[in-house]
Symmetry: C2
Subunit: 288 residues, 2 copies
Amino acid sequence: MTSPVLLLLRDPSGATGHDAVAADQPVALATDLGITRGDGIFETITVVDGIPQALDAHLTRLAHSAALLELPRPHEPAWREAVFAAIDAHDEVAEAFIKLVYSRGIEGSGVPTGWVWLQPSADFTRERTEGIDVVLLDRGYASTIATTAPWLLQGAKTLSYALNRAAIREAARRGADDALFVSTDGYLLEGPTANVLLRLDGRIVTPKTDLGILAGTTQQSIFEIAQVNGYPTSYELLTPADLMRADAAWLVSSVRNAAPIRSVDGVARAIDAELTQSINAGLAARTA
Amino acid sequence: MTSPVLLLLRDPSGATGHDAVAADQPVALATDLGITRGDGIFETITVVDGIPQALDAHLTRLAHSAALLELPRPHEPAWREAVFAAIDAHDEVAEAFIKLVYSRGIEGSGVPTGWVWLQPSADFTRERTEGIDVVLLDRGYASTIATTAPWLLQGAKTLSYALNRAAIREAARRGADDALFVSTDGYLLEGPTANVLLRLDGRIVTPKTDLGILAGTTQQSIFEIAQVNGYPTSYELLTPADLMRADAAWLVSSVRNAAPIRSVDGVARAIDAELTQSINAGLAARTA
């Protein structure tokens, strides 16, 4: 078997297919705007027993991010074909992840760069069962930022994630596993690589997606699972006080799935092991 | 001659030298955090008649950015040696630029990636003489951001420049050449790739560098030139009103040098052609 798998799209915005290349073969020129300017977008898709989860939602968001960055529209069938080709090229494993990377390409060329990468996922059993310690970090932006300053690209999943990584380092420095951003006007936003969900007064809730945050594919799947299980769901303006009084809270993302938040800024809070297990089982059982 | 020149550092944080590679040879793996996360830093240095300008200041800022991102400290002599080797490998041209790119490297490897790129510069005669049209854009952050939220990496020159590029597209959409960011509390900050300088009440002034902006190498050189020419210089809290009443204003950066601002949000303002010429001549005459 080949692992990891790397497929280079001949043209990420055209129906021109892809080429398999060795994973240890460099793929980006020194002038690729993806590396010189973080000027591009990505998606990370979890693959369970050979099924790419929420693929439609990921491809839709890729196109949305491309529009926000004014990149050529990704050719959806070409990306979809490469996703399934990557899965076919790999031995079936319980959990793998696929990363779609789409950059503006060589400066001045107008030709974007794109590839699909697949490798087995790390084991997140501990995070999913024992939970994670989270710290709240100021995002520096007001909750209205996506409307007032769209050039800041909030809501696009860009390759410019240096600050997301710095936030996770800051969390580690404070002895925590992850961070949760708060707006300058006091609303819960998102984690550096995850959405936040709460069970609050019998509802499953998450911050409104017009607050300059990413619309989460895993969050959307969990809303569907919750509705099937009789929970009302809603997008709301939520505060750190809501996080503390919620009877369960999670950071949710494509590969780690639902990780219950067991402490916030060092203050312990309850986790619901049974509901978490049920959500993660529901996520793993998705057939698309 | 070889043009452009690309030199790959064997270890950007060690004294291990570099290798010349063809400019059209890919240099970054698909897992390089420089491209997957914009997780790295850069510098752009102008080279006039074979002399890299303000090299010490650029290398100092590279080390400062590395510290803010907790990257291994760049090995200064190795980078300096690669800069001069790149210049030696290229025919002498009137103006060239060198880009230093330093990424965190392959995820999990702990080994950073680094290279030096040199190519002849574009002709900026028009921008330097006729001036540029600028629009003011909200940066979304308060002027205190570098102190209150250091994890946002303001003040580091990172590879995560997607929003800087989006701001320039927004300026173009409004019919302008460039943008100038303003803080949420109403202070002038910086352009997406430049600092702003004003001649105000007989002084040459620029925004304070603790406002979450980059300390500009070109701005520092201009302060030195201004002082020699009898102008007092200072770092101040400046507002859009100061920009409009200043008797001259520039965006200054390493390759374009001083570009006089001839309009702000469509409102014409005076340029000082003689002083601009004198500043740009002073910049071109730097011997280090």
